[in-house]
């Protein structure tokens, strides 16, 4: 089926049903590598509920985006630990480019079933990078009313990415922007701006000539 995506989960669906029936405590369940897939309709439904829930509790678009990012942060910090354990054999990242590549490929693949569509460095600023996705699942079934035109639900993904970078000790500010291209109306670009401390450490880590 074309429209399926994989999600972070402690066990495959069958496994967790088994675990529930048997009441296996979470610390006894396996963290196995089996990649669980979740139906896209189930995800879209849950995400739309999340949006409605948040919308009732905020004033304004910025507030709403912050709330979505907070939701994402909770996902991201867990995804980071789990994906590193599952897919990377327990290696941490210590350089800016490597951690960005991890987000762009390994993490994106594990969360959304494919790599992100581009990873670019800003030409204006040393400390800015951009990750774009042509058709992120969080915007695929959301049509934003005109009065909310600056809202991008990619704020949720921005929160995930921020948590991953934060957790890996690369503090950064991540924001989501709509960046439509021909054929890809939902294209979203995440702008990542690293903290000053990260850039200083990166300079020290350069091999000395």
């Amino acid at each position: 089926m074309a429209g399926r995506l994989s999600m972070v989960n402690t066990a495959s669906f069958e496994n967790s049903r088994y675990a529930l029936a048997k009441k296996i405590p979470i610390l006894d369940r396996t963290l196995s590598k089996g990649h669980a897939e979740v139906g896209i309709s189930a995800f879209a439904f849950l995400f739309s509920e999340m949006l409605q829930y948040s919308q009732k509790r905020v004033n304004g678009i910025q507030d709403l985006e912050r709330k979505l990012a907070d939701f994402g942060y909770r996902v991201g910090i867990r995804a980071l630990e789990l994906i590193t354990w599952r897919d990377k054999g327990g290696k941490r990242e210590t350089r800016v480019l490597n951690v960005l590549y991890f987000v762009h490929s390994v993490m994106w693949k594990s969360l959304f079933g494919k790599q992100a569509d581009s990873l670019e460095k800003s030409t204006d600023n040393e400390d800015e990078y951009m990750i774009s996705d042509n058709d992120p699942v969080v915007t695929r079934y959301i049509s934003v009313p005109r009065e909310y035109s600056s809202l991008n639900c990619g704020a949720f993904i921005a929160g995930i990415v921020e948590a991953v970078l934060d957790g890996s000790q690369f503090p950064a500010r991540v924001s989501a922007h709509s960046n439509p291209m021909e054929g890809y109306p939902g294209r979203t670009t995440l702008v990542i701006k690293f903290d000053k401390s990260v850039m200083e450490r990166e300079k020290d880590a350069e091999p000395k000539r």
Binding site: T10, P25, I26, L27, R29, L31, R74, I77, R78, L80, E81, L82, T84, W85, G90, K91, R92, E93, T94, G167, S168, Q169, R201, A205
Partner: protein, 136 residues
Amino acid sequence: MSYFVVVGTRDNPLYEAEFGLARSDLKREEHKHLNQFIVHAALDMVDEAMWGTKEMYLKTVDKFNDFFVSAYVTASGIRFMLLHDSPNSDGIRNFFTETHELFIKTLLNPFYELNAPITSPTFDTKVKALGKKYLG
């Protein structure tokens, strides 16, 4: 004797345990505080050592008299610190790896917040069992 502590991203302790207390250790009640001091001092060494390698297990990062401090850094910057008096690299590596797995499972629980103390009695029992198995 060994003393194990999980340290959160804000240098806050999340979980503590002691393994293999000999009878002679029981008399030295004041050492409990000393343990915390030694491990806290070693956190700076971890901050330095963690950027030199991609490995999570940093081996021995600090020494204090007859004691060694071994450390392990997880992907999200949580640190496992172990104060021990006999070098036992492989056992400690296994202990850290398996404790890490338990920690991930704890973290995946949506009711557990990052940097909150770990109060689960199951976690405690399991870590103590691992301590007995690998650290003697």
